[in-house]
Each structure stands twice: as structure tokens, then as C-alpha cells.
Symmetry: C2
Subunit: 418 residues, 2 copies
Amino acid sequence: MAKRNAFYAQSGGVTAVINASACGVIETARRHRSRIGTLYAGRNGILGALDEELVDTNRESAAAIAALRHTPGGAFGSARYKLKGLEQNRAEYERLIAVFRAHDIGYFFYNGGGDSADTCLKVSQIGATLGYPIVAIHVPKTVDNDLPITDTCPGFGSVAKYVAVSTLEAALDVRSMSRTSTKVFILEVMGRHAGWIAAAAGLAGSKAGDPPHIILFPEIAFDAKACLARVAECVRRYDYCVVVVSEGARYADGRFLADAGTVDAFGHKQLGGVAQVIATMVRDELKLKYHYAIADYLQRSARHIAARVDVEQAYALGKAAVELALKGENAVMPTIVRRSDKPYRWSVGKAALTDVANQEKMMPRNYITRDGFGITAAARRYLAPLIQGEDYPPYRQGLPAYASLKLVAVKKQLKPRA
Amino acid sequence: MAKRNAFYAQSGGVTAVINASACGVIETARRHRSRIGTLYAGRNGILGALDEELVDTNRESAAAIAALRHTPGGAFGSARYKLKGLEQNRAEYERLIAVFRAHDIGYFFYNGGGDSADTCLKVSQIGATLGYPIVAIHVPKTVDNDLPITDTCPGFGSVAKYVAVSTLEAALDVRSMSRTSTKVFILEVMGRHAGWIAAAAGLAGSKAGDPPHIILFPEIAFDAKACLARVAECVRRYDYCVVVVSEGARYADGRFLADAGTVDAFGHKQLGGVAQVIATMVRDELKLKYHYAIADYLQRSARHIAARVDVEQAYALGKAAVELALKGENAVMPTIVRRSDKPYRWSVGKAALTDVANQEKMMPRNYITRDGFGITAAARRYLAPLIQGEDYPPYRQGLPAYASLKLVAVKKQLKPRA
């Protein structure tokens, strides 16, 4: 294949390590200049291609690109935007091809989750259906850890570590104060469909009685009576109780706890998260003093406490994506293959995007204890390796010295899209 | 003075570094065994003395005590409990003396905030008023940074660093996603009376336009119209807006925003924090997509991201407390004295507890910009040194290896108090 330019973009919710994958893609492309000309990054995911808003990554210094490895967020901007099917929106694909053709783009690297894998698959099919040859490789990323085939997804290990560390620390605080102050502490974490992140909080404890005492998973129908009975029992036994709740926790009928129909004084649906719903129950039914925290974006941007293994995997998959493209692969995604649990050993494999797109990997039921409130030894075996190692960013004046790119725009060749 | 035993206890809300002060007290007492016999720690603050629930710190290994330096929470338990005046509750003081006498306690080290300084002062007066000679030294601690005389309070620098780092990281996340997703991110931080912690978030930005774009202080009456106009302006200019709000933000009439009279569907006063109140306004008035995080206890227990200078000061003040006692001082508190801003130089001074107890240091008005939404250069000069340096705990299996004490109880000599 003749020398062609490449396109890279970030898609969906960003993570603490998506830029480490960008770093892997860009540094590897730079090592293959005889085959990959300029690597263009799209501003705001696929929108950067559709709007011809491209960044010339060659204008960034080697040091700036290296610093992406320790910088959270999406350095080029990300987007939640799903391409429709070719038959529904042919014009969008023709626009993509026009932009790719205008900039001689022959490689498409797309860094995202399940929806993005679907977009990437569709782009890979342009070659056959619309006669524009392009190699499309998906780089996995999602804090939700719900992509199939790959052992884990870059981004998950770091949010898992953040949640486990935060649970451990806050529990020490609550335990200190329980005699005269807060008895119940509730931490709300992400995970609308699957309880992977909530499960990671379980790593904070190692023996019976250790916090977190209760984990509430989306996979287990919420039973208020059983939950409150367990809270009361913990307070009796330990004088305090730490609850970690997934934002996706729901009742048996499928309603989210966070959408429990409570409205504010103006009749608006209450905005509060699920932590507040649990807190209200603790107050009303048990009359116990509580506090709650909502980690929200802090958890997925906490590069300062990223797991080293996660950073390494994020980088490795970005690198592997470029190498797969250069080997002539198309419509694939590099994956993490687990070789052993303890010591944790992994290598890079690959999966066909047809097997990845629109699939969700749910947490196995045997990762959750029979009572539904904790994690099992099997879950620990899976999760423990993923939070291993620290990979601190450099600091300047007490703050992480995160990358700041120039983001030099590439001159547009086309008229704006309609 | 003949060799006497000592008592140490932790009081009020705990911090990421209160155990570093405990470490300073215990290690220093161990170096003076000829004058200080056994150092007893009270379980749950002053309650440990009143209930004769003492821990023999001699039963802890040197390694365990050293590990306190990197362990958050209160290792001996803390309490929110304020001694009444001698005239109101003489029995309580007589009980204290009975316990101190039973264990030959001649030194009293109390590690807490403003209320605790008052308790410590009262204990120091037992000698004169009730004829029991005791030396009482207060070791300052509070994330609120509101103690007078001392330049800063151990605990504040670490929460300041946590809040600044978290704001920086979450802002990178929101900025990445703003094209198609969240436009406004709100982070709620502690500080019911003073805006020191909220102010620290301002360190995340250094030039105009940098997040956080808006800080809401308890010191500035909340003006919904001005605040929302600023949010809208930021979204217009930067496509996103980061707001940091102190839990103590209030209206001109003194009502907390968090107590804004909203009730849930059951007529209960709404539990939500102030972040949710701001979020509701953003939704209703500006129709913008928002997210919010509530850092709650995570911020004050985040030892994993403690400021090195804060850890050093916490230890130094614990050490100084013992040294002051051995020099014959009484009813004093060691303080941090700032020698220069840049480079930051500090030394240990001392203050009389009569000048410390029941005083609150508010944030100077000239630390807040004229528009009320940001911090000034003067605030930066004061705050910037306090978040300097990192002091990572050791990790084991991906988690901080925090101290776990044996907490061996001392045999009780007295009957339980009535």
C-alpha cells in the first residue's frame, strides 16, 4: 500500500487514559513515516471528520505527545455521535469520503466504546460499498468495561482503582467518627447498565466486616427492606456502614432508583442521584446520621491515581492499532488477552469488529455474592490485577503538569457540509 | 517535673493528615522516655478519657506508628464533643481528673479545631481550679483552615490539593465532551462558614478563561441572576462552564442554598446538597446539560493525594506539642509561622490557647475578586504554597497500605461513669 495519511479520533465518554491510547497511536505512526504520512486528529470525534475539523498532530512536539500518556480527558475533544446505517444516511458517508479523499486519509483509528466500534465497522465498509479504500481499526476505551472479547477496557482499571481507594479512605474517616457523628456513608459511582465499577469498590475490603459493607449493583433488583436491614445490622456490629451504589441500581420492575418519582417543590422530577435516594431511606426508616458523596466525573478523570497496568494497556492498544493497520488488517480491534491472574500476565490480541459492535459484556452472576451485596472470590480474581501499580503524572507547583496541545487546525479543502 | 504518663486524643472531623500529627506526638514522646512514661491514646477523643477507654500506644510497633504518617482518618477514633464550662458540669471535670489520676497522666495533648482548643484550655485550668497538675497542649487540625494565629491548619493543604487537582481533572473531561454532551459541571466542596476550600479550587486555573470559571463562596451573598448570567457567558465563550460551590453558599438573607425550602414528594425537606440546587437552576433557567459531583468525605480523607508540606507540618506540630510540654509550657498550641511566600518558608511558633479558643479566621475579602466569583492574586500567594509537594503512601496490591493498629485497651481502674 502506498503512503497514506491517517485519521484518529476519540469518541464517547472520556477516561483517565484515553490520551495514553492517543499517545500510542501517534508515537507509533511517527515511527512509520514511510507508510503513514500525516496523522490528523479529528476535533470532537467523528464530527471532526464530518465537519473537516482536523488537527495536524505533526505540529505537536514529541514532548507534548509524550505528555498525553499522563493526561486525562480527551485531548482532541470527544463526541457522543453514532453514525446511522449507510442506507439511512448515505449523504453522511459520502461526506466522510469527501473529507478523507481531500486529505488522502487511508487509515481510520477510532478510540471508543461499543457505539464507536459500530461506527468504526461502518467506516471500514465504505471501501467495498462506496469504492473508497480505507483501513479502519477500533481502539477500545470505556470506563464501563462492557466491551466483549477483550479481557478489560482501557479506562476501567483506573476508575476501579479510584473507586477502591476512595472507598478505603472514606471508610477510615467514617469509622473514626461513628461514635458521635455519621453512621452511614454512601458513595455513588458510575455504571448505568453493569456493576463493574461498583464491584471494584469491593477490593477496598479483604476480610469479613471490612468496608464496603454493602454494594448495590444494577444486576440485582433493589430490595429496600433487605438493604436497610443490612445497614442496621452493620451499624449494630461495626457502629458504621459504608454503602457503594451504582448509578444504575434499580427496582425489580426495572425503574432506576434515581428516577423514583420524587419531585421537588416545583413539581420537577428530582435531579438527585441514587445516593440521595438511599440516604433518604436511611434517614426516614433508620433515623441514622448519614453522608453521601457522588464521584461523577471525578472518578473517570482521576489520572492522578490511575492504575499503571491500565495506562500500559491503553498505550499498548493504541500502538497495536497502528501495527495491525500496517499489517493489512481491517475492521478489527486490538484486545487485552489475560494469560494468568496471579501474577497477572497479559498480551495483545485482536477481535473482528463484527463480533464487537453493539455487544455488551455484563458482569457474571457468580461475581456477586448470593445475598447480592458483595463480590465473590471470582470477582476479586478478575478485578484485583486491573488496579495494580501507580503511574503518577509529573507535578508542577503542586498540580499535575497535564499536556496542553497546540491543536493547529488543518486548512479546510471543502465547503461546509449542508 | 517527675516522669508522668501522657494522654493524646483526636477531636472533631478527621483529616488526611491528623494521624501524621499523632505520629509526631507518639514518636517524640518515645524519644523522651525519661520524662514521659506511657502515652495513652483516648478512644474517640475526650470520650476516651471520660469513659476510661485508653489505648496503650506502647503496644504498637515502631513500624505501625510510622505508618500513621501516611494514613488518613483518625486512628484512635475522634468525636464531636465539647466540654461544658467548669461551673456547668463540674462532675465531668472531676471524672477527667479521676481518670488522669488513676493512670498518672500529667500531659494532655489534644488534636483538633476551634472547639477542641476550648476543651484543651479548660483542661489546662484543672490544675489551678481543681488542684490536679496537668500540662495541656493543643495540636491544631482542621480542613476548614479557620484557626486564628497559625498561618494554616494541618489538614487544609491536603484538602486544598485534592480539590484543585479534582477540579483540574474534571474540567479536562467536561471540556472534551462539551460539543455534544455536558456543558456545565458543578463540584460541591466543604466549608460551611468560610470559603477556604472552595478558594483552593481556583488554583486549578492560572489564566483568564481557565476553569473553574465560577467559585461560589459562603462569604459572598448568592445572586442567582448574576451567577446564571456568568454560566451562560462561559458556555458562549468556552462552550462549557465549571462551577465550584462551597456547601456553605448562602443567600443575602443568610439562608443556605442547600436549605432552600425544597421538599421531596413526601413533604420532607430535600436532602440534596447545594450542587443540586445550582444544577436545578442551570436546567430550569438555561436549559443546559449539567453534571455534578459531591466530594464530601472523599476530599478530607484523600491521603493518596496529600500535600507534602501539609504532612510535614502536621508531623512537626505533633512533635512541637510534646517539646513545648517538656519545656514547661501549658495551655498553648504550636503554630505554623510563614516566613516567606515564594519560596515558601515556614517555622513553628506558638500561641496561647486563650487567644485561639472560640475564634474563627475568616477569609479576607481581598482574597475574592470584586465580582465575587474568583480568587485574587493575594489569595494565590497565600494558597499556592500550601498544596506543594506530593507524599504518596506505599501501595500493596494496588491499594494504599494504610496503618492498622492493634489498639490494645488499657485495663480500667475505675467504675464506669454514671
